[in-house]
């Protein structure tokens, strides 16, 4: 039997490596491939060499090891890529974060949210308004100070939208959230005194590291040193110096400002924290409540699960994730306009989640990456075809639902459920990121 999830992940990895090869030459491609293989081998090696009695050990270290390896590889990425791809890397980070959050709502709790982009907008506009760039100049806060405010905004709006609507049937919820997304966009377009209308907010201050913070300085200089050490050893190990050597990034500082790399690293850090938080939630009482709600809400309610409470949990976590992504977006691109936050964007994020596999954390990250890459891959096509590129997302959604509802890298529990067959619906409790991330979904 062909193990499609592995094939899917393998294809994706191959495409990624070939992109690096095309951009930075074969050496960089080889290194990235090595890092990916190493990340993939860690849990496999553990399975192979750890004695059976040591499963507890494996369970404890498999996840942090592969998570660490994965993010280590991602953090090294800026060494090879140049400015154009750096922009793309930030974009990927933003969408991966969004997909991660929407995955909690749609994948874990089974609530179809078609207005998810509204929370992204709320995050971005919170940054725009509270940083003093908007018409209301009542505060001039930095991005770091705005994070908690944006989180509060997310929780408030998530609760305001969720509390009345989460009682409804799933399909009603979908259309109400769709309406909510449009309302937020229309309000941003028309409430000129607060949001500057359809022109949007411009000149949003970019993020900056507080001068006084020696902690941040320490992290940044450690990273620069690490990067330099890596590059020097790479150049030393490969003969024929001068040709094909990596540039030393000393000129490329890690100050925020207009430089994309710090945003990328910040996004990586946020994604890593969210992965850990969401994974732990999903493996806790909350996660079990979510799957109970998703599988049969009436039964869950009858068994004493406070469904509304846990649905609100999922909704709020999704909302806050999107808000954080929105704040970083606003700080990065420094100007926001209502047109960015339309329904299509919501559907693109949904496609990312569906593509990666509903209810699958690593799948969401893969999906977020894939949907951001797609327009880049279509760059060489005629403009008209590019214009209609969202049709591809539509086709992806339909085909995935018909042929592979569990996504390219499925979560075991979710796969059995979405197939609708009589398959075993309960994977082991520990089934989560490590195996799927590295080895392409456990079967």
């Amino acid at each position: 039997m062909i193990r499609w999830p592995k094939v899917g992940l393998f294809t994706f990895a191959a495409a990624f490596v070939s992109l690096i090869v095309k951009i930075r030459g074969p050496k960089a491609g080889l290194t990235v491939a090595l890092v990916l293989v190493a990340a993939a081998l860690i849990p496999a090696a553990q399975r192979r060499f750890a004695p059976r009695v040591d499963r507890l050990y494996q369970k404890r270290w498999g996840f942090p090891a592969s998570l660490g390896a994965f993010f280590f590889a991602c953090a090294l990425l800026p060494i090879w890529i140049d400015v154009v791809e750096e922009e793309l890397a930030v974009q990927i980070g933003l969408f991966a974060l969004l997909a991660l959050g929407l995955n909690v709502v749609v994948g874990f709790a089974g609530l179809l949210d078609l207005g998810y982009v509204a929370f992204w907008a709320i995050g971005a506009y919170t940054m725009g308004i509270f940083s003093g760039a908007g018409p209301l100049q009542f505060a001039h806060l930095s991005m770091w100070q705005i994070f908690p405010i944006a989180l509060a905004m997310a929780l408030i709006t998530g609760f305001l939208l969720g509390a009345p609507t989460l009682r409804l049937r799933g399909d009603y919820l979908a259309i109400v959230t769709l309406g909510f997304g449009e309302i937020v966009r229309i309000v941003a377009e028309n409430l000129s005194k607060v949001t500057n209308g359809s022109q949007g907010i411009v000149n949003i201050p970019s993020a900056s590291i507080p001068n006084s913070s020696s902690f941040w300085r320490g992290i940044v200089s450690a990273f620069v040193h690490f990067e330099n050490a890596w590059i020097h050893s790479w150049n030393a190990l490969t003969p024929g110096a001068g040709r094909g050597t990596l540039p030393v990034p000393s000129a490329r500082s890690l100050e925020f400002g207009v430089n994309p790399i710090p945003y990328y690293l910040l996004l990586l850090a946020v994604i890593m924290i969210m992965v850990i938080v969401i994974r732990r939630l999903n493996n806790s009482r909350v996660g079990r409540a979510w799957s109970a709600i998703r599988e049969d809400e009436v039964a869950a309610e009858a068994m004493g699960v406070p469904t509304l409470k846990y649905k609100l949990w999922a909704f709020s976590i999704g909302a806050s994730t999107a808000c954080i992504s929105g704040v970083i977006l606003a700080a990065r691109i420094q100007s926001i306009e209502p047109g960015t936050f339309d329904l299509i964007t919501s559907i693109v994020i949904l496609s990312a989640v569906v593509l990666g596999g509903l209810g699958n954390i690593s799948g969401a990250l893969i999906g977020g990456t894939a949907v951001t890459f797609l327009p880049e891959l279509l760059r060489s096509l005629p403009p008209r075809l590019q214009d209609a590129r969202f049709g591809i997302f539509g086709a992806v959604l339909v085909l995935m639902m018909i042929y592979r509802p569990q996504g390219i890298a499925p979560s075991r529990r979710r796969a059995a459920e979405l197939e609708g067959g009589a398959a075993e619906t309960h994977g082991p409790i520990g089934a989560g990121l490590p195996e799927e991330l590295a080895a392409g979904g456990a079967e």
Binding site: V106, G110, L112, L114, P164, T165, L168, G170, D171, Y172, A174, I175, V176, L178, G179, F180, E182, I183, I186, V187, E189, N190, L343, I344, I347, L350, S351, V354, L358, R384, L385, D387, A388, R389, F390, G391, I392, F393, G394, A395, V396, L397, V398, L399, M400, M401, I402, P405, E417, L418, E419, G420
Partner: protein
């Protein structure tokens, strides 16, 4: 008393009834499909768009051959528009829903598949026809034929309202009296028992989608006649509004869709008069949220089967 509730009110009422009639025609499709499958056909807005586009193409073909457009052409355009709506609706059912139904997929899968189908269809049209608004050849010249107080009622508005009333009545009679209508009501009440009694469920579902598609196609042509333009995403806003209308009247309930559509049209038009036109869509969404919060079964209850 604000202006919008006094001097402007008659004008707003007439406008509301006109757009409400279009919402009602689309809402019937949502309601029929919901009655039978308990499924919201998210791609129904694309059925509307397909009908509108087919009407446009037919009219363009006719005017291309040198014909002078006149009112008769509206009825000529209605036929391909309705047929296209029906074909798109049946194709949707066949390709986006039936494979899932056969597998007994989760509810979420249907919704995602429908959203995907909607996006795919509108982008195919975008690819084919481009992004610009296309002018609908003028069929019925706007002539005021009735003056009530300070408001003039145009022939176009009367055509839309009358067409909607005729089609809704026809649908109501069809579902209540015909053999296929009996099948629809049977499947709506209890699909399993209906299947055991020899009702061909797949056929009933196809007929249901066909009926919804015919009406949405007609709505598309009427919309094109009234507003004079169409393009790939023309169905989006009317689609959501029609869904709101269907919920407002009680989804699954044919007469409810009629009343819901007219009510929503009037409410949003009067509201737009009070708050400004840019808030029109927001008002409609707030109506939807309000209805779902306080009376999720709609004004007339969810008449599945018996009342359908």
């Amino acid at each position: 008393m604000p202006d919008c509730l006094t001097t402007q009110l008659p004008l707003r009422l007439v406008g509301g009834l006109t757009s409400g009639s279009i919402y009602a025609l689309i809402a019937l499709g949502y309601t029929l499909v919901y009655g039978v499958l308990q499924l919201i056909n998210f791609a129904h807005s694309e059925v509307f768009m397909g009908g509108s586009l087919a009407g446009l193409l037919a009219l363009e073909a006719l005017t291309h051959h040198g014909a002078q457009t006149n009112a008769i052409f509206l009825f000529v355009a209605l036929i391909p528009g309705m047929l296209a709506g029906g074909v798109v609706a049946i194709a949707l059912e066949r390709f986006a829903y039936r494979p899932l139904r056969r597998r007994g997929a989760a509810r979420l899968s249907y919704l995602i598949s429908a959203i995907g189908a909607s996006l795919l269809l509108s982008n195919i049209v975008l690819l084919w026809r481009g992004r610009n608004f296309e002018n609908f050849p003028a069929t019925v010249a706007p002539v005021p034929i009735l003056t009530l107080g300070n408001v003039q009622i145009y022939n176009r508005q009367i055509i839309i309202v009358v067409a909607m009333l005729i089609m809704t009545a026809g649908l109501d009679i069809f579902v209540r009296t015909s053999r296929a209508g009996k099948g629809i009501r049977a499947v709506a009440q209890d699909p399993e028992t209906a299947g055991m009694m020899g009702v061909d469920i797949n056929r009933v579902i196809t007929v249901t989608f066909l009926l919804g598609g015919l009406l949405a196609g007609a709505a598309g042509v009427l919309y094109g006649m009234f507003f004079g333009v169409t393009r790939f995403d023309v169905g989006f806003i009317p689609g959501i509004k029609a869904f709101t209308a269907a919920v407002l009247g009680g989804i699954g309930n044919i007469r409810g869709a009629l009343v819901g559509g007219l009510t929503l049209g009037v409410v949003e038009n009067v509201g737009a008069g009070c708050c400004g036109n840019q808030w029109k869509d927001v008002i409609a969404f707030l109506v939807l949220v309000g209805v779902l919060m306080f009376r999720p079964t709609g004004l007339f209850g969810e008449g599945v089967g018996a009342k359908a």
